[in-house]
């Protein structure tokens, strides 16, 4: 596909790998040798790519993401993030956006966005400048002094994305960030995320169980089987960017969506 090759060149990083997962398996400790959660995962994510992992609930896709973030240790195999292992969370390499917005209710919107910067001891003026920039990037000017309970679900996720991006990490990991939102807000937020991604140019790994969301957002879709999670399909989406809502009605979109569904259906 011509335009796809062009896009990769546009990002100027064709072929470079941001995340590499090799021979990864994970077993939750317990009686009878524990519960196998992930098995034989090998994958790589190119720099600047938007990769979506889909799979049924409980297939271990969130665990895999937490391992990429350095928040959890796998039993076997290794993960390289920008060429280096990630034994501990490293917010300057990897930003994480969680399913629940997990904003701190005692901090204002701006203070929430600045939180990772203040942990590093960055001076207040510099922090404010950066968090203000992030606030306008996610379209929430004027809400900087609000507290999380004053924001809607979609707005909270915008703040959460801003917080994930504020350290300008090359990699952004997103764990079902829109799962708690209603369908309309979810579609709007997906569209917004693509807009933000097109300006911020991050490598994104996005976990979801929504097939439509997966096809709409992704460059590549990785399909996982139920527990123990394995990668059972790898799909290049190849729809042109910027994506539009109209594309969802096209045959290509339907076929891609159907292919993922068939893969998942086979296994459950």
């Amino acid at each position: 596909m011509q335009h796809l090759a062009n896009l990769n060149e546009l990002r100027g990083q064709a072929g470079e790998i941001a995340i590499k997962v090799e021979g990864l398996s994970h077993v939750y400790p317990g009686a009878d040798g524990g519960v196998p959660a992930l098995a034989d995962i090998d994958m790589s994510v190119g720099k600047g790519r938007f990769v979506v992992i889909v799979g049924p609930s409980g297939c271990g896709k969130t665990s895999l993401l937490m391992m990429m973030a350095g928040l959890r240790r796998q039993s076997q195999g290794r993960i390289l993030c920008l060429g280096q292992p990630i034994p501990e969370p490293d917010p300057q390499r990897v930003g994480v956006v969680f399913q629940e917005a997990s904003l701190f209710p005692w901090l204002s919107t701006l203070d929430n966005i600045e939180f990772p910067l203040s942990l590093r001891g960055m001076p207040r003026a510099e922090r404010r400048r950066r968090s203000q920039a992030m606030l306008s990037l996610v379209g929430l000017e004027g809400f900087g002094e609000r507290y999380p309970h004053e924001l809607s679900g979609g707005m909270k996720q915008r703040v959460s994305i801003a917080r994930g991006l504020v350290q300008d990490p090359p990699v952004l990991l997103m764990d079902e960030p829109f799962a708690a939102l209603d369908e309309q807000t979810r579609m709007t937020m997906g569209h917004e995320l693509l807009r933000i991604w097109s300006t911020a140019r991050k490598t994104v790994v996005f976990v979801t169980h929504s097939l439509t969301e997966a096809v709409y957002l992704a460059d590549e879709v990785l399909v996982m089987s139920p527990r123990p999670g394995r990668l059972i399909d790898h799909i290049e989406v190849g729809l042109p960017r910027p994506r539009t809502y109209e594309m969802m009605a096209t045959e290509v979109f339907g076929k891609l969506r159907n292919r993922i569904w068939q893969q998942i259906r086979k296994t459950v």
Partner: protein
């Protein structure tokens, strides 16, 4: 007709009660021994103001120190028990059941150990107030959303940072509820112990004047205690709402809220 504000109603009820206190004894419906008129109570309070003031100072001193013990030890023990699983499993059931024991039964022993002066009151009221502070601190720490800590770790928070930036602010509302209750119990503890065995303090004045059937002076002491407790409660609430300003933020400025539709760009179809 517009319904009056709750605050107005509360003040009206208070004024009505005070008026009843003044009027009912004047009608002779109740003998003065049962209920002396408000004016008479205030008069003896004024005449004996030096005595009452001195007693109040003793009580305040004991209350202050016992609150310090209750809050300090309560928060420390609560943090340890709430934060460390081993201590929680070992100690929490013990503390929870001790809380149900009427600790006042220990007071005679305390007077034997510490004498009938201020020390025994401080020790007793301190322990009395300790339990709610300790239990709610433990609960506050135990019930923190684990997602908060996960998010903080993902942003690079070290363990000390997780404690100061997440665990403490997240548990503050529950801890404050415990402090409010613990402080109130400390006041009760001091007054009760003064009434039982003492040689000074407001509680002592209640008992002393009751034994000589000087009803106006009993009520004067009761009035002083009432004012003390209400002042404490209002102070605690004011401090709490200052510290936890984020809990009520939205209700203060809903009228000036900018419209979300104006700031969030509508998704374009293209």
């Amino acid at each position: 007709m517009r319904r009056p504000a709750p605050a107005t109603v509360r003040w009206m009820v208070l004024v009505a009660l005070l008026a009843l206190w003044e009027v009912v004894p004047l009608t002779g419906a109740l003998p003065e021994l049962f209920l002396p008129a408000l004016s008479k109570t205030l008069t003896v309070l004024w005449i004996d103001r030096d005595i009452y003031f001195a007693a109040l100072l003793v009580t305040l001193y004991e209350v202050a120190l016992s609150m310090l013990i209750a809050c300090g030890l309560g928060i420390l023990a609560g943090a340890l028990v709430g934060g460390l699983a081993v201590l929680r499993i070992l100690l929490l059931p013990i503390f929870s059941s001790l809380y149900a024991v009427p600790i006042v039964i220990l007071y005679p022993i305390f007077t034997a150990w510490f004498g009938i002066g201020s020390s025994s009151k401080i020790a007793f009221a301190g322990i009395y107030g300790f339990f709610p502070v300790m239990l709610s601190t433990a609960a506050g720490i135990r019930t923190i959303d684990p997602q908060f800590l996960l998010a903080a770790r993902s942003m690079g928070a070290t363990l000390p940072q997780q404690i100061t930036r997440v665990i403490i602010p997240a548990s503050l509302p529950t801890v404050f509820a415990g402090l409010r209750l613990g402080g109130a119990l400390a006041i009760i503890g001091v007054v009760v112990s003064e009434m039982l065995t003492a040689s000074a303090g407001i509680g002592y004045l209640v008992t002393l004047n009751r034994t000589i059937l000087d009803s106006p002076r009993v009520f004067a002491a009761i009035l002083a205690i009432l004012v003390l407790s209400i002042a404490y409660y209002m102070l605690a609430r004011a401090l709490e709402s200052r510290m936890l300003v984020w809990q009520t933020a939205g209700r203060r400025r809903t009228s000036s809220a900018p419209q979300i539709a104006a700031t969030v760009p509508a998704p374009s179809a293209a």
